[in-house]
């Protein structure tokens, strides 16, 4: 199959869906690659680079659409491009299927297959083709950089000969991929970073990135993030109130606010109200990553940077990834390449559009002249739902007391039983055995008891030294040999001598080794 990438038509879009690197990988799958002249220029890839990677370069967009069986691009197609789409062709790009019904129907009618990159399901297997995440990562990073660009102070606090600089305070609202990336960038620049999210389970992730999670004084059964594929859902009005109150409290303190709150297929929720903007210090910066969906702040103007009357800069750019075109192109092209790998299971250059596959099915919005959006829920849950813990009922004091009494009784019973049996056995032995034996026997039994009592107290980590010590003192058998060695019989003397020798090895070896080991144990 021939995979082609046209130059992005929308103005200001610098990304490109194929890089020389990804083209090489695609060719390994058995595909041919074709690209429109100048498509990679804005992202820093020249036509020469593509040629040397074995990509065919065609002059015009029309020629490219004609030549390619699969068209991979970044932005949703414009009408002119839709016209070029033909029967049997596959289009891979962002498509916004939720709000793009006309184009979707048109594509289906034509018999083209459309794979929408934003519809790749959020399951582990599909992470490598999750372009939303890879772009959000860049957006989060870039948001902090843009904010820094428009912020007149350092991020990190410094005490210099020329005066003291307080550290900047950054608030990140929404700890999704973009939010986490922003948190990471901001903390590594040295700012004091706070983060908020409606999903309390991400608090841990936030803290792991070095930011402080902003908790609300609010108790509500939160929807388990797992139920919505890891995305945030709409929260209750009471929750919203508590949240806004917290933000109002924070507004005069923070220098930079980065909002990333998006709810799938909905208008962005308003989180940073006008009065909060008014309460902020002059020179503060707001970066609204939700600008495309109306913005988390109502003052945000899409694709523009404005300065309010009280000197707060509000950045509403929607092209953060495009502003880092080289980086985002290579990530996006890799996402596309991974998707193609899944579409070409046999690596023979033949596309097998398997509608049974969770990932492919989920991302495909038109196929075989039919609209296949929205997809059925994936068979694999994105995140394992937190298992509901069964809490064992706390025993009442009476029950506990009863249990204790029962345990005590049982213990007494076993102890008395054992003592009884043991005593009886001893008596039986005593009946037959002579007194001289019994004397030794008593010593033996008592020693066993002492042994049991003492050994239970030995600490776990000292078990090896214990073995070495007991080994050393078990060579007390040397006494027996020493008593016998003076015998008149040569054989006895020989055996006893051997026994003395071996036991002596053991005594010295055992104690020395133990001392060596114990000397090593040290407190920090």
């Amino acid at each position: 199959m021939k995979i082609g990438t046209p130059k992005e038509v929308i103005e200001g879009e610098a990304r490109v869906a194929m890089t020389p690197d990804s083209a090489l990988q695609l060719q390994k799958l058995g595909h041919d690659c074709v690209i429109e002249a100048g498509a990679g220029k804005a992202a820093g890839f020249s036509d020469k680079d593509y040629k040397s990677a074995g990509v065919e370069v065609v002059k015009t967009a029309a020629a490219l659409w004609k030549a390619a069986d699969v068209v991979a691009k970044v932005r949703p197609p414009v009408d002119a491009e839709m016209k070029r789409l033909r029967d049997g062709q596959t289009l891979i790009s962002f498509f916004n299927p939720g709000g793009n019904e006309t184009q979707m129907n048109a594509a289906a009618k034509k018999g083209a297959t459309v794979v929408a990159m934003e519809m790749v399901p959020r399951i582990s297997r599909a992470q490598k083709m999750d372009a939303l995440s890879s772009m959000a990562n860049i957006a989060g990073y870039r948001a902090v950089i843009e904010a820094g660009n428009n912020f007149g102070r350092f991020f990190t606090g410094q005490i210099t000969a020329a005066g003291k600089v307080p550290p900047a305070k950054v608030l990140v609202v929404g700890a999704g991929v973009a939010g986490l990336a922003a948190i990471g960038t901001s903390t590594s620049l040295g700012a004091i970073t706070y983060a908020f999210d409606v999903r309390p389970e991400v608090a841990e992730q936030v803290e792991s990135m070095g930011a402080e999670f902003v908790y609300l004084d609010f108790e509500e059964e939160q929807t388990d993030g797992a139920a919505t594929g890891g995305y945030a859902s709409v929260s209750s009005p009471e929750f919203r109130e508590a949240q806004l109150a917290k933000f109002r409290e924070l507004a005069p303190e923070v220098d930079i606010v980065i909002t990333t709150a998006l709810i799938p297929n909905r208008e962005a929720p308003e989180l940073w109200t006008e009065d909060m903007v008014k309460a902020m210090k002059p020179g503060s910066v707001i970066v609204d990553l939700a600008a495309e969906k109306g913005g988390n702040c109502k003052l945000t103007v899409m694709d523009e940077k404005i300065v309010t009357d009280n000197g707060v800069t509000i950045i509403g750019y929607t092209d953060f990834p495009s502003r880092m075109a080289a980086q985002s192109s290579s990530l996006y092209a890799t996402n596309i390449r991974h998707l193609m790998t899944d579409l070409t299971p046999d690596k023979d250059g033949v596309i097998n559009h398997d509608m049974e596959d969770d990932v492919i099915r989920g991302a495909t919005v038109t196929h075989a002249k039919e609209v296949t959006f929205p997809p059925p829920p994936p068979k694999v849950q994105a995140i394992a739902a937190a298992p509901k813990k069964e809490v064992a009922p706390e025993p009442t004091p009476e029950e506990r007391k009863a249990a204790e009494v029962a345990a005590f009784k049982k213990q007494t019973m076993t102890q008395v039983g054992l003592l009884g049996v043991g005593g009886l056995l001893l008596l039986l032995v005593g009946l037959v055995a002579p007194a001289s034996f019994m004397q030794h026997f008593i010593v033996f039994v008592l020693s066993v008891f002492v042994g049991f009592q003492v050994i239970w107290g030995v600490s776990h980590s000292l078990h090896t030294p214990l073995m070495a010590v007991t080994n050393a003192i078990s060579s007390i058998i040397i006494l027996g040999a020493l008593i016998q060695i003076g015998s008149s019989s040569f054989l006895i003397t020989l055996l006893a001598a051997l026994a003395v020798f071996m036991a002596a090895i053991n005594i010295f070896g055992g104690f020395l080794v133990t001392r060596r080991m114990l000397a090593m144990f040290q407190k920090s």
């Binding site: 980590s461 214990l466 078990s474 008593i483 016998q484 114990l518 090593m520 144990f521």
Partner: protein, 499 residues
């Protein structure tokens, strides 16, 4: 300088030995405790040497000195990782010594009865009407006897019967300990295949040998002569060999402590036959200590003691859960990056760390991470390694402070708050199948729940299964990354990357 003095010395020695074992309850007091043991042993040996009945003082001293030289060599040359082998081989010496002393007692009894017969008397005859034995030997002859000979001469025939039972027990247990320890040594040192092996016939062979031993004992007691004792010893040697051959490498901690216990019981039995209370006391102490250790080990593995002794894992009932997913490898850079980011790290060492001699590298890594203010701790499973407490000793050797080395129960609850768990050369003790899969051969064994940590790195030689041959689902978990390679090289390669 009569018996009174010796007995007094023995009492002191016995008390010192008890203190010595009791002192092992803490790391600091343990250092003192060893001295108690040494002094106790010194007093006991000295008292016996200058006490009644010992002859050939010079020879004894020379032999002790020679033994000391060998023991010193052994103890100072041995690597800490070879500790299990050393302990095992030293047990075999005690076992063999017990066999020799037991045989001596038998020879002595025979000599005595010949001596009595020569003088027209019967050994062990009881004077009419009293319960006192008539020694009956002419005074000169009696005084010429060694202390042990005199002891036997004074015994009644019932007492001599009991004496024989005791020495049979001593010899039998000693012989089992001897071959068992030699095989255990071979397995630990890798000279004998560590897999559980049995001759055809398996348990029946052991049972047959044991039954035959019993018959021989009865024959010996009824006076069939010393050849029965020799045959009995051979049987016991065989049982020791076969018993330990049938136990797999993973159960070695139990085996070693069990053999430790045996050597104690052998000493106690010999103590009975020699009428020496100190031998009985110490034998009982060692015997019960070994028994308790074995019990603790078995409990830690959720295995019945009997099934361990009889060898091999009990057969699994039903199909084991199939393991899904794939093992994902990671390189040193990835691990180092995760470690640099982590705040709380738990290291789980196992036998693989000992084999690769990686404890120094692990210690260095720990120091570096701790210097960066990270919370680094060690989680030790009770049966990690091949000897009870094996890991503690290795880490102590590498100068890891013991207060960051924690037991399973102390640390298991902390895993959910742990950023990175590093598994170094352990397998079964971190196997989640013990909890999840009722059909797993190790079902119910308490394990370290490292998979609850945010990330788990497993340092491992290759993709094979562990000692028990059980598949480990941990390696397939989503938060697990496999860090293949020799543990020492792997950990060392991390060191320069931690900054």
């Amino acid at each position: 300088m009569e018996f009174g003095f010796t007995t007094a010395a023995y009492v002191v020695a016995a008390v010192l030995f008890i203190f010595s074992l009791g002192g092992l309850s803490g790391q600091e007091s343990a250092k003192r405790a060893v001295w108690y043991g040494i002094v106790g042993m010194g007093i006991a040996v000295l008292a016996t040497l200058i006490g009644p009945g010992s002859g050939l003082l010079l020879l004894s001293l020379i032999l002790i000195a020679a033994g000391a030289a060998v023991g010193y060599q052994l103890a100072t040359k041995v690597q800490m990782t070879q500790m299990p082998e050393l302990v095992a081989i030293m047990h075999s010496l005690v076992g063999l010594a017990a066999v020799f002393v037991g045989f001596n007692a038998d020879i002595m009894i025979n000599t005595m009865s010949t001596l009595f017969a020569e003088n027209g008397q019967v050994l062990g005859a009881v004077k009419e009407g009293t319960r006192h034995t008539a020694i009956g030997l002419p005074k000169e002859i009696y005084n010429d006897l060694s202390a042990f000979g005199q002891l036997i001469a004074k015994k009644s025939s019932v007492e001599i019967g009991i004496l024989r039972i005791e020495l049979v027990l001593g010899i039998w247990i000693g012989a089992v300990t001897f071959t068992g320890s030699v095989i255990a040594y071979g397995k630990l040192a890798g000279r004998v295949d560590s897999a559980a092996k049995k001759l055809p016939g398996g348990h029946m062979l052991n049972a047959g040998a044991a039954a035959l031993s019993l018959i021989l004992t009865i024959m010996y007691l009824s006076g069939s002569g010393s050849w029965t004792l020799v045959l009995l010893t051979l049987l016991a040697l065989f049982i020791g060999y076969h018993l330990i051959m049938g136990i797999g490498g993973a159960d070695m901690p139990v085996v070693v402590s069990m053999l430790n216990s045996y050597s104690g019981w052998a000493a106690a039995a010999i103590g009975f036959s020699l009428g020496n209370d100190l031998l009985i006391v110490v034998g009982a102490l060692v015997g019960s200590s070994g028994a308790i250790l074995s019990y603790i080990m078995c409990k830690a593995m959720n295995r019945s003691f009997v099934s361990v002794i009889l060898g091999g894992f009990g057969g699994a009932q039903g199909e084991q859960m199939a393991v899904e997913g794939e093992q994902i490898a990671i390189d040193a850079d990835g691990v180092a990056a995760a470690l640099n980011e982590a705040q709380s790290i738990v290291i789980i060492p196992g036998y693989g760390m000992a084999v690769a001699q990686a404890q120094q590298a692990v210690s260095e890594l720990t120091n570096k991470l701790r210097a960066k203010g990270k919370n680094v701790r060690f989680a030790i499973h009770p049966v990690a390694g091949r000897l009870p407490g094996h890991m503690n000793v290795l880490l102590a050797e590498a100068r890891v402070p013991y207060d960051i080395v924690l037991e399973m129960d102390e640390i298991n609850d902390d895993f959910p708050d742990t950023d990175v768990a590093i598994v170094i050369g352990s397998n079964d003790i971190v196997n989640p199948a013990a909890q999840d899969d009722p059909n797993s051969p190790i079902a119910g064994m308490p394990v370290l729940e490292c998979w609850k940590a945010k990330q788990v790195f497993v340092s491992k030689r290759g993709q094979g299964t562990g000692y028990s041959g059980i598949e480990n689902p941990l390696f397939y978990k989503e938060n697990t990354r496999m860090f293949y390679g020799d543990a020492k090289d792997s950990v060392s390669s991390l060191l320069p990357k931690i900054d």
